[in-house]
């Protein structure tokens, strides 16, 4: 059995307690271990992604018990791509946290960071719905600590909202799991896919309730309107590197929706017809509109970025909720773009904050390192608003093209294009107030004393820009990759067969497997 698939979970799970127990008072050692761990994660994740690129599905049976009786980790093309994306994002976020000194402003940043990575990786790799719940809780409890890192009243209050909202989400998740177990008697995803297909047309009440509850839970994570209320405050008040890492957390929700609603409840399934295939798309369109209107209406830069994340999640969800291979391929391309662009904008907002009294969008004296920060903001805004030449533009084109056959094609085109226009105006307004009107304000002595952001911070942000540029230049290859991935997602038979037909240690005794 190939043990590497467990490494993305085991490695951070070992590094985090080591940092707490052995390197508690030495921020230098903590930084070294954290960076080395993330570099190792990238190497492992790249290996796994390369391994699964040809459609190989890697199965890892915990304790060598065969599914569905044991818990399994499954690495297919989608999981490994998300794992690689998380690891790469984590490296740049970590570099920024070290460069800007955020990791030293509270305690246990690096340990919580590693636990957070463990939860995210586990959520991507698990093949069991209850295990998905457990990894959600692992990543959430680490995120509660990270969210209130460095303290402060505003942050604590936003943290309370964030924790309460997510606790309610977790409770809903348990209700959904209970209903699914009561209806089918299993929680293994591959086994569920088989058993849900066997449910007769007259016994659908329980499974329909379960499907909707589960969709609500994942929609909370993915911040789909009207379940997005937790996001603006908590992302705006969280420390910048943490908010940047949280850019992948909304994608965990999107990933779970893709996984569950292509394999367990596929769109052609009669039992759940008329639920997510009808209602997810309008909700996603509203998210896109609300997010981009929020960009225009925001009075602070951090809230502006938070709303742009809601908008770009709306775009991802529009593309997912088409439930066609072309739509899914576009969504997967856009997920990578949206994660990198959202994280970059949060980091840039922090670069701006370094030299200003606050992030209000009011004319204030120029910040230290104004020209470079302004150029970075310009690039980030282009990426997020989806203007050429960066990958946001290509992603949007793919989404529009995939929507051509949808019944709601007019609505989709109007909303996507209108939201883009609104977000361009919003970003342009914010940029001109922050960077151009600043020169009309007389600088006081105090602002001249403001420190410049550290060089390493700029390196981290530039690294994310370089990744976005690569995502644009190699768009053809990446889109080809996501197209094969989408085709495999809609034909899950090899996945199910791999999970259920691999024998475990007592399989031959039972004989009927």
């Amino acid at each position: 059995m190939n043990h590497w698939i467990a490494a993305p979970i085991i490695l951070p799970a070992l590094v985090a307690p080591f940092i707490i127990l052995a390197a508690r008072y030495h921020i230098g050692i903590q930084r070294v271990f954290s960076v080395v761990s993330v570099l190792a994660l990238i190497a492992v994740a790249a290996g796994l992604a390369w391994q699964s690129a040809d459609g190989t599905i890697t199965l890892y049976q915990m304790g060598d018990w065969a599914a569905p009786f044991g818990i399994v980790l499954v690495g297919d093309q989608l999981s490994t791509m998300m794992v690689l994306l998380t690891a790469v994002l984590a490296l740049f976020v970590l570099l920024y946290a070290i460069g800007s000194g955020w990791d030293g402003r509270g305690r246990h940043f690096h340990a919580l960071f590693q636990f957070q990575l463990m939860g995210i990786m586990g959520a991507f790799l698990t093949g069991d719905l209850f295990n998905l719940f457990v990894f959600f809780e692992v990543l959430l409890i680490a995120s509660y600590g990270l969210m209130i890192h460095a303290g402060g009243n505003a942050r604590l209050r936003a943290g309370v909202q964030y924790v309460l909202f997510n606790l309610i989400g977790s409770t809903l998740f348990l209700f959904a799991l209970g209903s699914i177990y009561a209806e089918t008697g299993t929680l293994n995803m591959a086994d569920l896919a088989n058993r849900v297909a066997l449910i007769g047309p007259h016994e659908t009440v329980g499974i329909r309730v379960a499907a909707v509850l589960l969709l609500l839970v994942f929609a909370i994570k993915a911040a789909v309107v009207p379940l997005h209320f937790w996001l603006p405050s908590s992302y705006a008040e969280a420390p910048a590197p943490v908010a940047a890492l949280f850019a992948i957390m909304t994608k965990v929700g999107a990933y779970a929706i893709i996984r569950v609603y292509t394999m367990i409840f596929p769109p052609e399934l009669a039992v759940t017809a008329g639920l997510h295939d009808l209602w997810l798309l309008p909700a996603a369109l509203v998210s896109l509109a609300i997010g981009m209107i929020g960009v225009l209406a925001a009075r602070k830069l951090d809230r502006l970025v938070a709303f742009s994340v809601i908008g770009s999640m709306g775009m991802v969800m529009v593309s997912i909720s088409l439930f066609t291979p072309a739509g899914m391929a576009a969504a997967l391309y856009y997920i990578v773009h949206s994660t990198l662009a959202g994280a970059m904008l949060f980091l840039i907002a922090d670069l701006v904050r370094t030299g200003r009294a606050n992030l209000d969008l009011t004319p204030q004296p120029p910040v230290a390192g104004n020209a470079l920060t302004a150029a970075l903001f310009f690039t980030g805004a282009i990426a997020m608003a989806g203007l050429p030449p960066l990958s946001g533009f290509l992603g949007k084109l793919l989404v529009l093209d995939a929507a051509r056959d949808s019944d709601l094609v007019v609505w989709i085109w109007v909303t996507v294009l209108g939201a883009s226009l609104v977000s361009i105006v919003g970003f342009a307004r914010a940029g001109s107030i922050l960077f151009w009107k600043a020169h009309a304000v007389d600088a006081t002595d105090q602002t001249n004393m403001m420190p410049r952001p550290a060089a390493l911070s700029y390196v981290a942000v530039s690294g994310l820009i370089a990744l976005l540029a690569a995502h644009t230049v190699f768009a053809g290859q990446v889109h080809g990759y996501t197209t094969t991935m989408a085709a495999r997602l809609f034909a899950p038979a090899p996945y199910i067969a791999t999970v259920l037909d691999t024998p475990g240690k007592l399989s031959d005794l039972r004989g009927d497997h």
């Binding site: 209850f130 457990v134 809780e137 959430l140 409890i141 509660y144 209130i148 303290g151 009243n153 604590l156 209050r157 943290g159 309370v160 909202q161 924790v163 309460l164 606790l167 309610i168 977790s170 409770t171 348990l174 209700f175 799991l177 209970g178 209903s179 177990y181 009561a182 008697g185 405050s233 009075r299 602070k300 606050n358 209000d360 009011t362």
Partner: protein, 118 residues
Amino acid sequence: MELLVASAIGILTSGGGYLVLRLRTFPVILGISLLTYAVNVFLFASGRLTTGAPPILRDGVTTYSDPLPQALVLTAIVISFGMTAVVVMIGLGAFLGSDDDHVDDQPDSENDQPEGTP
């Protein structure tokens, strides 16, 4: 027994739902606790209600109770207990720091200035 368990879940859920919609931290946390109690009983019932049946294989026994929901409930209890402790600590910190335990965003003076005022 079915009626008793079902109505217990229903009453706990509705009470929890009401309290979660309150504006202050303490009732909301109580509401979430009630909801987690409800979900624990619900998970327990998802393996069907049986009395006096063994959960593991034995000779000469035909009815079994499902052992898996008990393991699920145990996990859920541990997690919800830990999470409630965390939210109590964070809520207490926020209350002691700002002397206010509302869970909603307070309209503060900075955000409510009309456009254009300095």
